[in-house]
Amino acid sequence: MLMNVLHFVISIWVPLVCALIIVAVLPLVAGYIVLMERKVMADMQARLGPMRVGPHGLLQPIADALKLLIKEDIIPDEADKAIFWFAPLISVTAAMLAMSALAIGPWFQIADLNVGLLFVVGISALGIFGIVLGGWSSNSHYSLLGALRSAAQLVSYETAAGMAIVGGLLLAGTLSTREIIQAQNDYGVWFAIAAPVGFFVYLVASIAETNRAPFDLPEAESELVAGYMTEYSGFRWALYFLAEYTNMVVVASIATTLFLGGWLRPFAGTPAFNFLDYLPSVLMLGIGGYCFYRAPKQPVKVQSLFMVAVGLLMILAAIILAAPLIPAVSNLLPGLKPGLHGAFWFLLKVGLYIYLFMWLRFTFPRYRFDQLMRLGWQFLIPLSIVNVMGIGLALVLHRHWGWGHLPAFGLTTLLTLAVAAWLGWAEEKKDKVHVFVGET
């Protein structure tokens, strides 16, 4: 009996630790993604961003979190208090729960579900309830309208995202996250290259899923309503914000797993590219070297010391990442290399995807709501359906008729692009006629 319990405890300690890390670390990570966004925004706008709180603004998220925690908790008068209290929790829970099926490296996964990817998509769809209930319980006409608009947008783009995922799943043949990455390893090429249109559709749909610009009308400040978050103040608002950024991480992780090879290094199967194994350490060394180079040029002594400390940290990271490449160490701990390097590549890809989100946010203006819905329903959904059919065609060509990979997928990509061009042209033509002109 004791052995049973012990066995049981050991078999669940890994998922428990992973879960604990996610619940404890993810809010902090989300806070630092916010800081990263502010710095990237500042960089693109020719300014510096937060610099005062902590060296180079690094303590800013902590200051913001503290401020939000001690703010007065305002609940609107006629609001339904129970639901008002509950709604942000739904959003956050759904977002964090969705992280549980994703594998950040071969070592780090809470549950390798059979239906892993479908689980992530379905659970993050439950976050819609958080938005709708939050908008309704605020007892404000405009919050409700904003929440319903946001939810309608989410539902529309979920279909397109789902069909794009189906396109990738056709290539993978399985829903489990680990096996999808294994399939990309076997294919030798990432699914983003085999199905680029699907990847593009997923990219656009995921931006709309997370309510980011250019699809952020429901929560834009210069529009009439500030959306479902209007009446939420203090920490409740922080929970919604946390849910939004966690959703971004989830969506980036799905894209990385399905389209960008997960924890595989570029050209994972080709021995000729083995020198890429040194890339993580070289990158860390590069960043460390840059920190040392900039350290003397800082205006304030504290910032110089800080830069030196970061440089040393980067060198430490480089050493840790280079350790598995030494044969002695890798013989001792064979799982070290895939674990560390896998996690590094995964996080790098997720980071680049999120950087792309931010880049697009600061470049493009906002879509109006009807244009947004039109784009989702009349362009993305037909395109993603055609994409699924195209990939099916490519697989038939490859498996049954013996065509090579490149001709089969190249042909179907071209066909799908042709359909996309036609859809885009048709939409433009309709756009010119689509002018509301009042009574003249």
Binding site: I83, V115, L118, F129, L133
Partner: protein, 168 residues
């Protein structure tokens, strides 16, 4: 043993939520408890290792149909019905019928108990991954019902669009 704990947890959750659905005054709270009941049922599916059913229950029921319910509830003005007088004059008839039905069930189970036998449930690992099973069967043996269901949904969508649009 863990199986039993998980099962009883989800089952209790489902039953309590179901009772709360019909006893709440506030319509939105009823909807929320319905969502909880559906999710608890999904949990039971998961515990039975029917993962595909679990996630389909979450996506379709909780994530699709209930979202629709919640939309409609929020767009319609519920104040009117809340202020209507609720009357309950034939409660004795309902109680009588419930007792009669309960008595019938009890007698039927008591008499036939010895004839009931449950076989040994197959260990969950004996099944292939359920997604593939469902997929194979759905697209080969049950193709016709599947297509008919799709056309039914299509007709419903077109009908909704026609009714809602102001001009075609």
């Amino acid at each position: 043993m863990l199986d039993h704990i998980v099962f009883y947890f989800f089952a209790a959750l489902a039953v309590v939520s179901a009772i709360l659905v019909v006893t709440r005054r506030n319509v939105v709270q009823s909807a929320i408890f319905l969502i909880t009941a559906l999710l608890a049922t999904a949990g039971i599916f998961l515990q039975l290792h029917a993962e595909f059913l679990f996630i389909v229950q979450v996506i379709l029921y909780a994530g699709g149909i209930m979202v629709l319910f919640v939309f409609v509830i929020m767009l319609i003005n519920m104040d009117v019905s809340l202020h209507q007088v609720q009357f309950n004059r034939q409660w004795w008839l309902g109680l009588l019928l419930a007792l009669v039905l309960g008595a019938e069930f009890t007698v039927a189970i008591a008499i036939g108990r010895s004839h009931l036998s449950f076989g040994e449930p197959a260990p969950a690992s004996a099944l292939e991954p359920s997604t593939q099973l469902v997929g194979k069967v759905l697209f080969s043996e049950y193709m016709l019902p599947f297509e008919i269901a799709s056309i039914l949904l299509l007709v419903a969508m077109i009908g909704a669009v026609v009714m809602a649009k102001k001009k075609i």
